[in-house]
Symmetry: C2
Subunit: 341 residues, 2 copies
């Protein structure tokens, strides 16, 4: 398999290269692609030095699969080019996620929607991925009426510059104030320190006063679960380098059985149940950091309503929330021989 | 007025002394009281040095009002003593909050429950106080059916040792790992780093797998609002030094008007509405830090259910969440001449 990675020097692209070291995909070529700023760099892959190529139409010649781990703008400009040259594309940007005929895939939930005619597969938003894994399992045991999510999102979700800004604030904690210039959103007018703060803005606001991040969680979850359930999200950035947490309340149409919920959660091997409160076992950003799985705990029924369930779900937003989910899609397509690779 | 402060050298007691510098209460004596570890210390109040007295029965002689800003154990041992010697007590611990005949007071909500026969007034939990201020205003415009809260709680809520532990982790970010020994709960067996983490445990777990902190929010809110509405809470500690945030979903019995909600919020002078998303105006822990008011924003209706409202509410957990609320109770009792001070 000849594989390309667009955004190879970015934070998610870097994670994907690390994951590809251990994949069972039969890689014969790995072509690293980035913007002009990063082209020419050398990156080690399987003990060989690979050069990073500048993005252009020609760079997509003769590839079977291209991971787009870059911005929506880059995806909009080059995804069609890659497809027209014969590649299948897995795109991590939000550019095509809500497009009707583009599968939006979390393998534990809806890998089966991919057919050989799909040349473009969208990788969902990080906050969406870790949410829909448990929601899908719950939807099989009881009809979900609505979902309310409050997120605790890590700085790494805002990219390298945001991480650098946060680390500068930590390092200079005692000596000087580091003026924020990136978070919450680089291109916005106002910036706030993330150290010692919780910022209820991730991405820009839409006209309905929800952020784009919140609307992504809402719309993408509905698409992946193929269900127009009621769903709300409040997305909050917290001073954590990596690993998103979510506090989730699920309202079912009918009474829910906690035993059935636990059984369902335990059956999914990529969902690790850490739920033993009396021994202080619950998911943590520090535990999820560096792992490919989704971690769940604090699973409990509402005290007053027997059709309401609460839980806390955590994942590495760069791995299961981005690079690992994208690779998992590719590996499933390979093992199911969808594209004849 | 002769005022005593038990726990005068603690984190909340210190804040209270600072606030008393500017109170209109006619203070003729301020008696600072603490455990044997802190007795003998000297603290400046209104340009005079005050000695800290060791707690004992005798230290409560001839006081009109005593603020207990200490643990439940200290309150259980000495509140009755102070009362028997003629003082009115405002207790910040959880020892008596849920006791039937003890008023649990947030002045913006239920100051009127205090009568001259009440010798003990309980100050609610920090997470409860900032929550019930908006809930009370909402309850006046529409019947509340249920409330779902996810908290983003600061380290200062766990006391001085927790703050010191967190600052050590920040200072040694690059050089060495500082083994956690305090958070999430000092007396528990397992401790987790708070830096770069979000810990879904505040206080110990009860048998129903909710934490004591979560159950406090539930029961205290019901008592203060005098309403047995459905309420759930997921309490999470985040790496923020001071200032609690809460993401709140309120379900009403009937359709709610956003205009009426905004009017109600704007009429309460101690609730500052920071809610202009297109100009990136919303409440932040950094903004609430050092302030006595409650800050609210991200107020919006649910996209799917016209009887559901979401908002984000932030306050300084040591001030409005503790010392400032306690002082406000005393000041109201004084201005309303409840006790003849």
């Amino acid at each position: 398999m000849r594989i390309g990675i667009v955004g190879a020097t970015g934070i998610v692209g870097t994670k994907l290269i690390q994951l590809l070291e251990k994949t069972h995909l039969p890689i014969t070529e790995l072509r690293l692609i980035a913007s002009v700023h990063s082209s020419g760099k050398l990156i080690i892959f399987k003990e060989k030095l690979l050069e990073v190529y500048k993005i252009s139409a020609e760079v997509f010649d003769n590839l079977d699969l291209v991971f787009f781990m870059a911005s929506s703008d880059v995806a909009k400009e080059y995804v069609d080019v890659a497809i027209s040259k014969g590649a299948v594309v897995i795109d991590n940007s939000s550019a095509f996620r809500m497009k009707e005929n583009v599968p939006l895939v979390v393998p534990e939930v809806n890998q089966e929607v991919i057919t050989k005619n799909d040349r473009l597969i969208a990788n969902p938003n990080c906050s969406t991925i870790q949410l829909v894994v448990p929601l899908y399992l719950l939807s099989k045991i009881n009809q979900i009426k609505r979902v309310d999510v409050s997120t605790y999102q890590a700085v790494s979700g805002a990219g390298k510059e945001a991480i650098d800004e946060f680390i500068e604030q930590i390092k200079n904690y005692e000596t000087k104030k580091v003026k924020p210039q990136i978070l919450p959103v680089k291109d916005e007018l106002v910036h706030y320190e993330i150290i010692n703060n919780a910022i209820p803005q991730i991405d820009v606001f839409e006209n309905n006063n929800y952020t784009k991040e919140e609307m992504k969680v809402i719309h993408e979850s509905q698409k992946i679960l193929n269900k127009k359930m009621q769903i709300s999200c409040t997305a909050v950035r917290i001073p954590v380098l990596n690993g998103h947490s979510e506090s989730v309340t699920v309202t079912f149409e009918n009474e829910v059985s906690l035993n059935l919920v636990k059984e369902a959660f335990n059956e999914e091997k990529n969902l690790i149940v850490l739920d033993d409160p009396k021994n202080q076992v619950y998911p943590l950003a520090k535990i999820a950091n560096g792992k490919n799985e989704v971690f769940i705990g604090r699973v409990r029924k509402d005290i007053y309503a027997n059709n309401i369930l609460h839980f806390f779900v955590v994942a590495d937003n760069l791995l299961k929330g981005a690079a690992a989910n994208a690779l998992q899609i590719a590996e499933k397509c390979y093992s199911e021989k969808i594209y004849g690779w």
